[in-house]
Amino acid sequence: MSEHEQMAHEASARIAGAADLNALEAMRVEYLGKQGSISGLLKTLGKMSPDERQEKAPAIQSLRQTVADALTARKDELEAAELEARLATETLDLTLPAPAAPKGSVHPVSQVMDELAEIFADLGFAVATGPEIEDDWYNFTALNMPESHPARAMHDTFYFPDTAPKGGKMLLRTHTSPVQVRTMMAEGAPLRIIAPGRVYRSDSDATHTPMFHQIEGLVIDKGIHLGHLKWTLETFLKAFFETEDIVLRLRPSYFPFTEPSVEVDVGFAIENGKRILGGSGDEPGHGWMELLGSGMVNRRVIEFAGLDPDEWQGFAFGVGVDRLAMLKYGMDDLRAFFDGDTRWLSHYGFSPFDQPTLSAGVGAKA
């Protein structure tokens, strides 16, 4: 081993053993600094003859290169170790909770109204609205319930002391049916509408609240008959509950604003104490539940709305939205709908992204 090789060997060993960057820098100065030993050797090359230089230069250059490489290598090592050591001090306890974002919800009544609007849009029904504070002409008289009509008393109506602009009493609408008359008067015929909204009856227990939600359906056209009503109700209920297993029982009934009038029951079974729709109510373990009222629009109502009842006829139905929500989504206390308990709203409410669509299914799976 030559003198230079010996030197390179020793230097490399010292450099590899440098404890930290400061020690390493000291070694760089010692070897390669202006006054450094290897720098000194390089300086001797200038004083040599060309032949001597030719002979000795490669060894000295090689020595310088080896030491420079060793310094760089050690520097990388030491820096990597230092980073490692710093990162080790920066460890986070990632089992700690992340910042929470509040989660909002859509009320079941709104959700179900959106579902119904979606289904009826497919059947060509537009959505209509009307005032909730009505006069008794729209709420009763125009619906073939003159002042003395016993059915008026059965409506448990909330009245205001005020007189309506065109006479009569102001009241809270007891059903969404006044929208039928208003829409017929405003838009004429033919007509297909649903009218969702708040309605009011002076009644309060576990299944009745003084305020609740209804959706009214109305079709006025030529040649519309009971068979169309039956199909519409079956079709909408099957779409709403997303099952073909919906059995309806139509019973003759009485509403002053329809003739003939039909009450509609739906078959259900009791499973684990809850009513599950499906099957005929006459099957063992099943029963019938009143779901909605409907019928062919009474001629008088069509007349009151300014249309010719010999030209136009149609059907109407009204169904409780809260009730549909309870049946579909399993709530059992109507009063809780209106309490605003955030625990209940989070439990029974819907994600804003549960927007009902026909392609994804109108219902939101639990």
């Binding site: 700690l96 909770p97 910042p99 929470a100 974002a101 509040p102 989660k103 909002g104 919800s105 009320h107 009544v109 709104s110 959106d114 009826f120 849009a121 497919d122 059947l123 060509g124 029904f125 959505v127 005032p131 909730e132 504070i133 016993p150 059915a151 008393a153 059965m154 909330f158 009245y159 002391p161 005020d162 809270l172 708040r198 002076s202 305020m211 040649g223 008959h225 009971l226 068979g227 169309h228 039956k230 139509l250 019973r251 003759p252 009934s253 009485y254 003739e259 003939p260 006459d282 062919m296 001629r299 209106f338 309490d339 308990d341 955030t342 625990r343 709203l345 989070s346 804003p352 927007q355």
Partner: protein, 796 residues
């Protein structure tokens, strides 16, 4: 209305089962609400004979009986009834039976040391009547061992709901007629009456109110005995839920429940002078059968004599002339009262009776004579006596009504083809007369029939609604068109936006306690209900805040630390002309903690007015409102903290929203701890989007050069609104300044008294070429000059 199968089959010959009858009743529009089979209730109760009776060794009032049930060894039974004795027959409840009156399950037991294997029962214990003095005593020929239900003739009871258009079905006979028409058997002929009238009616009868009482028929029966009614009648009445009282009362009730025909029986001894149907005098009083005194007015029809009112016509009888056990001579009344007038009287007086229900809906005006004969016949059979001739005042409205019917309408309206012959059969079975040219005459009792559609209903309900086939509604070609109005689309969008922002949608009552509504009314007149269900639900809300505030309070009481609620609904104001003025509104309420205390953030953060502003601006932006053009102005309302609330307006008048922290007085009024922040967005004040409702968006044109930021810090007067300074700065050079943003507000050390420091970052957007230094200097000068006009001086 309740009636037993036994009663129904008295009028209807049928082999049908209870289930078949119930199904048919539902099918023809008589809704069966319940079927009760008393035989189930009486299971385990048998006819038994008492063989021996001896005193209980250990109790004075008890006896130890041996009782035979016809099989096995006689049973030992301890009994406390004084009438229990050897040789009598009674009803024994054996171990396992449940006593109907109290639900107690019988079992073998020991009573004061003596074994007892059952219970001898009283009438009341079996819910067969009120008598409870002693156990039931059955006739000697009662077959020992037979099920008591069978022996007693217990018959299933239907409980049906009769729709108000069918008063003719408010009697069992009417129901039987409908069932017969629907093929459930044959209507039996009614008993023929041949009453011998043995003397002229000694009482004069008049109607002086032909509107309220068009017809008043009567007769006297002398020499009656008002004992108990026959057992079969009592059973039927009890099955219908009526308590037997006395023969005369039971007979009138029986008439009403059998034929839907209320009648009245007066004690003749209590009457004096002519008996007259007339209007009551204002303020006239009567003590009615329910022992309450009613004050009448001149809109009400009464039956009166020389001494005063004896009957609130068609509603309730008077106590004074009511029949008593000692009554011997009676006046019978069968009248036709105007249905509307009865309804008005009943509502005014608040009296609901079976009679009112029937008269109000309309009894059969053609059944006065026959009704009176039936009533007389029943009284003579069970109370004896001699009947006078009938006297009649007025005439009932029985003129026949005729409708021209096109049987083709059944298919066109009812959606089902029914052969004309079958249509004719159905109508005739319901007592309609069908002429050869389809002129249909309908019976006067059918007050509900007005036109051809009613006849379609009759045909379809009897033929069967289940035979109506479903027919698809004609569909518009292609994909369904959008149907929502712009307001509905807006409400749906905002509802889901609000939920996506972490708010829970609530639905609260439209009505409030008046005090709460008043607090939010801002002096406007409220809609206040005449007949609220409670004082807490009396006034229609003029704002959505109080409802959500109460909900927040309930949540806080349940321990919720932070509440984020919203509601989309209406505010109810008054229109100028007295009509309703309802405004669609979105309300947000933020109460308590915005974020709970946390390992990273330390203490819990409470909501403040800026959280309200954030919701208001975000939701308005979602609604398409020009948020950058909105002005933050005052006058949010007295319910808000005066210094921490504002309105957002588009122009000085059009308020789109209000928001802010609620006033401590408001919080006190609702007993809730602060802070509470509320936002109300007036959805109908948001302007519709301008321009064509197309889908194409404007071209995307990002600037070619990068924007430049310049910071300015100003001393401004302490009361200068930041927005005013920003507006001035933005307006200083509209060609180059595209944005200006406050990044610091500071008061205190280094800021002169009465001033504050506002630092603004201004964004400058070069057009074709980059800004030169002198251009930047010129813009800066303009900014400083514009700010100076707002009283701002650049900080050195």
């Amino acid at each position: 209305m309740k009636f037993s199968l036994e009663w129904l089959t008295y009028f209807l010959e049928t082999e049908a089962s209870v289930a078949e009858i119930a199904a048919k009743l539902n099918a023809i529009g008589i809704e069966v609400e319940d079927i009760e089979d008393p035989a189930e209730k009486l299971e385990g109760f048998r006819v038994a004979e008492v063989l021996t009776a001896r005193p209980h060794p250990d109790a004075d009032k008890l006896q130890v009986l041996t009782v035979s049930t016809g099989e096995g060894d006689p049973l030992t039974v301890v009994c406390g009834a004084p009438n229990a004795r050897a040789g009598m027959k009674g009803v024994l409840g054996v171990a396992g039976a449940v006593v109907p009156a109290n639900g107690m399950k019988l079992r073998k037991s020991e009573i004061r040391g003596v074994e007892s294997n059952g219970m001898m029962c009283s009438v009341r214990e079996l819910e067969l009547g009120d008598a409870h003095e002693g156990i039931i005593e059955l006739p000697e020929d009662a077959p020992v061992g037979e099920d008591f239900a069978t022996y007693h003739g217990a018959s299933p009871v239907f409980d049906v709901a009769i729709t108000p258009n069918r008063p003719d079905c408010m009697g069992v006979y009417g129901i039987a007629r409908d069932l017969a028409a629907a093929g459930m058997g044959t209507l039996k002929p009614l008993r023929e009456h041949d009453i011998a009238a043995t003397f002229p009616c000694p009482v004069e009868i008049r109607t002086e109110d032909p509107e309220g009482c068009p017809a008043f028929y009567g007769r006297v029966i002398k020499g009656v005995t008002n004992g108990e009614s026959p057992e079969w009648m009592q059973k039927r009445l009890m099955a219908a839920g009526q308590r037997p009282i006395s023969a005369l009362v039971d007979i009138t009730n029986y008439m009403m429940l059998s034929f839907g025909r209320p009648a009245h029986v007066y004690d003749l001894a209590k009457l004096s002078g002519p008996v007259v149907a007339r209007r009551a005098r204002d303020g006239e009083q009567v003590l009615a059968l329910n022992e309450k005194t009613y004050t009448l007015d001149s809109s009400m029809t009464v039956i009166a004599d020389d001494n005063g009112v004896h009957d609130i016509a068609g509603v309730m009888g008077g106590e004074h002339s009511s029949v008593q056990p000692e009554t011997t001579d009676v006046l019978l009344e069968i009248a036709y009262f105007d249905p509307e007038a009865i309804g008005v009287t009943g509502r005014k007086l608040g009296i609901a009776t079976d009679a009112r229900t029937r008269f109000e809906r309309g009894v059969d005006p053609a059944w006065l004579d026959e009704g009176l004969e039936s009533l007389t016949s029943l009284i003579k059979r069970f109370c004896g006596g001699d009947a006078s001739e009938i006297v009649r005042a007025g005439t009932p409205p029985t003129e026949p009504k005729v409708i021209a019917f096109d049987p083709g309408l059944t298919a066109r309206l009812g959606g089902v083809e029914v052969p004309e012959s079958e249509q004719k059969r159905i109508l005739e079975a319901l007592d309609f007369a069908v002429g050869p040219d389809w002129q249909v005459t309908f019976p006067p009792r059918r007050h509900d029939i007005e036109g051809a559609a009613d006849l379609v209903e009759e045909v379809v309900r009897i033929h069967g609604l289940d035979k109506v086939a479903s027919v698809a509604l004609p569909r518009v070609e292609g994909v369904a068109r959008p149907t929502a109005t712009p307001m509905q689309a807006l409400e749906r969008r905002l509802r889901r936006s609000a939920a996506a922002r972490g708010l829970n949608e609530a639905v609260t009552w439209s009505f409030l306690p008046t005090r709460q509504a008043q607090h939010f009314a801002d002096g406007d007149a409220l809609w206040v209900l005449d007949n609220p269900i409670s004082e807490d639900m009396k006034a229609m809300r003029p704002s959505l805040i109080p409802g959500l505030l109460s909900a927040a309070k309930r949540n806080a009481d349940r321990g919720a630390a932070g509440v984020r609620l919203f509601e989309v609904g209406r505010r109810y104001l008054r229109g100028q002309d007295g009509s309703s003025d309802e405004h669609p509104t979105l309300c947000v309420l933020l109460a308590g903690e915005k974020t709970p205390r946390g390992w990273a953030t330390g203490k819990a953060a409470k909501f403040d007015a800026f959280d309200g502003k954030a919701e208001a601006e975000a939701l308005l932006a979602e609604a398409g409102a020009p948020v950058d053009k909105l002005m933050v102005m005052g006058e949010a309302g007295g319910q808000f903290h005066p210094g921490q609330s504002a309105t957002l307006r588009l122009g000085p008048k059009n308020v789109l929203a209000r928001f802010g922290a609620l006033h401590p007085v408001t919080l006190d009024a609702f007993d809730i701890d602060g802070p509470v922040v509320a936002v109300e967005i007036y959805l109908d004040a948001i302007p519709a989007r301008k321009g064509k409702a197309g889908f194409e968006k404007p071209d995307f044109a990002p600037p070619a050069l990068q924007s430049v930021e310049r910071d300015f810090a100003f001393f401004v007067p302490q009361d200068l609104a930041a927005a005013d300074l920003l507006r001035a700065v933005r307006g200083a050079d509209k060609a180059n300044i595209v944005d200006a943003r406050v990044f610091d507000v500071f008061e205190g050390q280094g800021v002169p008294e009465g001033k504050k420091s506002i630092a603004i970052e201004v964004t400058l957007q070069p057009g074709e070429k980059s800004f030169k230094d002198e251009e930047l200097k010129a813009i800066s000068d303009k900014v400083v000059a514009a700010a100076a006009r707002q009283g701002a001086e650049l900080r050195g």
